[in-house]
C-alpha cells in the first residue's frame, strides 16, 4: 500500500499522489521563475566577476575589481562617489516609504470609512495613475512643475525659488515623483488591513484605561502589522531600484544606484560593473526583507507557526 488514504476536498487520495499532483501544479511557476529569474540572476553573479574589455564588451577573466570599484576605489584612489550613491538610494527609499506610510495610513482609514459602494471606486481611482507609463507620468510632473505653471508661480512669489525658474530638477521634485508613484502600493495592503480591523479591540483598550497613543498602538497598529509590513516591502524595494524619476526630476547630480546600473549597461558599456551594482541591489533588497521579517516576528509573535 502506498501509505494511508486521506480525504482532501471530498476526494479519496493518498499522500504521495497528493504531492505528485501538487508538484505538477507548481511546475509551471517553477519553470518560469527558473528560466526568467534564477538563471539571469546566476548570469548576473558570474558577470559581476568578469572583466570589461578594452573597447567595451566582456572578457571572461575573473576579478574582484568590480567589487573594489563599487566600494569606492578606482585607478585614481578612493572616492566617496559610490558610497554616496548607495547611501542616497537607501535614504531616498526610506524617506519615500515613511512618507507613503504617513500619507497612506490615514488614506486607508478614510477609504475604509466610506460606504461600501464608494470604496471600490476610490481604490480604483488610486490605481488609475499606475495604468499610465511611468515615463509619461514623470514627464507630466515636469510639465506641472514647469516655470510657467501655477505651482512654480506660487513658489516664486513666496520667494522659495528665484523668479522664472522651474521647480525641477530638485530633491523635492524627486520625492514628489517617488511618493506619487509608490503610494498606490502602500495604500492597497494597508487598506486590506484596515478594512478587517476588529474595532472591539480598540474599545477593549479604551475600557482598560489606555490613552490615545496606547489605544492606537495595541488596538490598531498591532492588528495592522501584516499590512504595514507588506506596504513597507512593496514600497521600499521598488524605491530602492528606481532611476527614471530621479533622472527626470532630480537632474544629473542626483544619482541613484538605479541610475548607476542603467549607465553601466547603457552609455558606459561596462556590463561587468553594472552586474556588480545590480547584484548589490539584489542583496540589499534581501537584507531589507530579512530585517522586516525580524520586525514582523517580533511584532506578531502570535502569528508564528500558526498555519
Amino acid at each position: 500500500m502506498a501509505g494511508r488514504t486521506l480525504i482532501v476536498d471530498g476526494y479519496l487520495t493518498t499522500r504521495p499522489r497528493l504531492y505528485g499532483r501538487g508538484t505538477l501544479l507548481i511546475l509551471g511557476a517553477f519553470l518560469w521563475m527558473g528560466v526568467f529569474l534564477f538563471a539571469p540572476l546566476a548570469g548576473l553573479a558570474v558577470l559581476a566577476f568578469a572583466t570589461r574589455g578594452e573597447y567595451g564588451g566582456v572578457e571572461w577573466t575573473f576579478t574582484w575589481g568590480n567589487l573594489v570599484r563599487l566600494a569606492g576605489w578606482d585607478e585614481f584612489g578612493f572616492s566617496w562617489n559610490h558610497v554616496q550613491i548607495v547611501w542616497r538610494s537607501l535614504w531616498l527609499a526610506t524617506v519615500t516609504t515613511v512618507l507613503c506610510l504617513l500619507i497612506g495610513f490615514p488614506m486607508a482609514f478614510w477609504i475604509a470609512a466610506k460606504p461600501a459602494r464608494w470604496r471600490g471606486l476610490l481604490l480604483a481611482l488610486i490605481m488609475v495613475p499606475s495604468c499610465v507609463n511611468l515615463v509619461i507620468r514623470t514627464y507630466a510632473w515636469q510639465q506641472f512643475l514647469g516655470a510657467q505653471m501655477p505651482a512654480a508661480w506660487v513658489a516664486q512669489h513666496l520667494g522659495l525659488v528665484p523668479e522664472g525658474s522651474a521647480l525641477y530638477p530638485t530633491v523635492a521634485a524627486v520625492y514628489l515623483g517617488m511618493v506619487s508613484c509608490m503610494l498606490p502600493f502602500t495604500v492597497l495592503p494597508l487598506y486590506t488591513s484596515v478594512e478587517r480591523l476588529d474595532w472591539t479591540l480598540v474599545e477593549a483598550a479604551r475600557d482598560l484605561h489606555a490613552g490615545r497613543l496606547r489605544t492606537f498602538r495595541h488596538g490598531i497598529l498591532a492588528q495592522c502589522m501584516p499590512g504595514l509590513l507588506a506596504a513597507t516591502i512593496l514600497t521600499f524595494i521598488p524605491s530602492l531600484g528606481m532611476f527614471v524619476i530621479s533622472d527626470m526630476l532630480g537632474g544629473a547630480k542626483f544619482l541613484l544606484i538605479g541610475n548607476l546600473i542603467q549607465q553601466q549597461f547603457g552609455s558606459m558599456n561596462d556590463w561587468p560593473f553594472g552586474a556588480t551594482a545590480g547584484l548589490f541591489l539584489v542583496l540589499a533588497s534581501l537584507v531589507a526583507l530579512w530585517g522586516l521579517r525580524l520586525v514582523s516576528e517580533r511584532e506578531t509573535p502570535h502569528a508564528r507557526g500558526r498555519r
Binding site: D198, E203, A204, R206, M225
Partner: protein, 354 residues
C-alpha cells in the same frame, strides 16, 4: 480606585432618563434605573431591546442623547471611557492577539502606569482566582473558548472596577461550560463584592446568576424584580412570553372577577382592569382532577405526554382547541388521549397588565 471608597459612601449606580437614538431608531426611551452597590443585575431581553446600548453607555462607548449616569457622586458621562472605574468583559472577549495572557491581564494596570513591582502580584492573584496561571505565557489563539473567557474576566477584574459589565459573555460557550461559568461568576461576584451588570438574552442564565433581573422591552424596562418574581409573577404578556414559564390565556373581563376565555369562564382573585387581555398560570399550579372541581374546572384531553425525569409534562387540549402546558409529579400516571378535568385555582391565576 479601591473598594470600598475611602469616604464609605456606597457607590450606587444611578441612571436617569436616558434617551438614545441611532438615526431614526429610538433605542432607549427615558430609561431610569438604580443599581445598589454590589448587586448582580441582569439586563434581559430579546435582541434590539436596548440592553447592549445601555451597557455601552455605562462603559463609555456610546453617549446618550439625554439623561445622566452617576456612580456615587461621580458623573460618569463626564469621564471618557478610559477614565471610568468600570471594566467590560466583551462578548467576543476582545483579547489582544499579540499579547500573552499575562500581558493581556496586566494591560489595564500598565495603562494606568502602576509600577511593575505592584502590578505583578495583582496580576498573579487575578490569574489564580480565574485559574489561568498555567496559561500565563500563552497567546489567546492557543486557548479554548472557556479559557479565553477566564482571561477576559481576569483582565477586567484585576483593575478592581467599581462596576463590571458583562456583554453576553457566555454566548460563545457550549451548554455544559456555560453552567460551570455561571457558578463561577456568582463565586467571583461574592469574592469581589462589586456591582455586576450582565447583558443576556438567555432567561435560564439570568435566573441562575442574578440578584435582580431587569426585563427590557423596546428601550424601556418591562419588569424589574428578583428572579423568583420575574419567573413566577410576570406582569405583562411580553414578560410572560419571554420567560416562557407560564401558560398565556387570552380573556375578556367585564368589571367582575370573572373572565371569559375561549374554553369557558374562570374566577379571578380580583376584577381585571381591561376588557380584553391576558391571564397567565404556571404549569405546576394547574391540578389534574378525575371529577369536575368546584371552581375553575376545565375539561380537556391529554394530547402529549413527556417524561422530564423529575416530572411529567402534559399538553392538554381544551374545548376551543387551545392547549395548556401542565407539569405533574412523576408518580402520577396519565395516558395520551385521556379525558381529564383541570383545576385552575383562582389564587394562582395571574392577571397580566395587558
Amino acid at each position: 480606585m479601591t473598594h470600598p471608597p475611602a469616604d464609605g459612601r456606597p457607590l450606587d449606580l444611578a441612571i436617569r432618563a436616558i434617551d438614545k437614538a441611532f438615526g431614526s431608531v429610538q433605542v432607549l426611551r427615558g430609561l431610569s434605573l438604580d443599581i445598589p452597590d454590589g448587586q448582580f443585575v441582569t439586563l434581559l431581553g430579546p435582541s434590539g431591546c436596548g440592553k447592549t446600548t445601555l451597557l455601552r453607555i455605562i462603559a463609555g462607548f456610546e453617549a446618550p442623547d439625554r439623561g445622566t449616569v452617576t456612580l456615587g457622586a461621580v458623573d460618569l458621562l463626564a469621564l471618557p471611557a478610559h477614565k471610568r472605574p468600570v471594566n467590560t468583559v466583551f462578548q467576543s472577549y476582545a483579547l489582544f492577539p499579540h499579547l500573552r495572557c499575562e500581558d493581556n491581564v496586566a494591560f489595564g494596570l500598565r495603562s494606568r502606569r502602576i509600577p511593575e513591582a505592584e502590578l505583578r502580584p495583582r496580576v498573579r492573584e487575578a490569574m489564580e482566582t480565574m485559574r489561568i496561571t498555567e496559561f500565563a505565557r500563552r497567546y489567546p489563539h492557543e486557548l479554548s473558548g472557556g479559557q479565553r473567557q477566564r482571561v477576559a474576566l481576569a483582565r477586567a477584574l484585576v483593575n478592581e472596577p467599581e462596576v463590571l459589565l458583562l456583554d453576553e459573555p457566555m454566548s460563545a460557550l457550549d451548554a455544559k461550560l456555560r453552567h460551570e461559568v455561571q457558578g463561577e461568576l456568582k463565586r467571583i461576584q461574592r469574592k469581589y463584592q462589586i456591582t455586576f451588570i450582565l447583558v443576556t438574552h438567555d432567561q435560564d442564565e439570568a435566573i441562575a446568576v442574578s440578584d435582580r433581573i431587569l426585563i427590557m422591552q423596546d428601550g424601556g424596562i418591562a419588569q424589574d424584580g428578583t428572579p423568583e418574581q420575574v419567573y413566577e409573577r410576570p406582569v405583562s404578556r411580553f414578560v410572560a412570553e419571554f420567560m416562557g414559564s407560564a401558560n398565556l390565556l387570552p380573556a375578556r373581563c367585564a368589571g367582575t372577577p370573572v373572565a371569559v376565555c375561549g374554553f369557558g369562564e374562570l374566577h379571578l382573585p380580583a376584577p381585571a382592569t381591561w376588557s380584553e387581555g391576558h391571564l397567565a398560570i404556571r404549569p405546576e399550579d394547574i391540578e389534574v382532577r378525575q371529577a369536575q372541581p368546584a371552581v375553575n374546572g376545565v375539561a380537556g384531553r391529554i394530547s402529549e405526554r413527556l417524561f422530564r425525569g423529575d416530572h411529567w409534562e402534559l399538553l392538554v387540549t381544551l374545548g376551543d382547541s387551545s392547549t395548556l402546558r401542565i407539569t405533574t409529579e412523576p408518580d402520577q400516571h396519565h395516558s395520551e388521549g385521556e379525558a381529564v378535568w383541570l383545576e385552575l385555582p383562582p389564587d394562582d391565576l395571574l392577571v397580566l397588565r395587558d
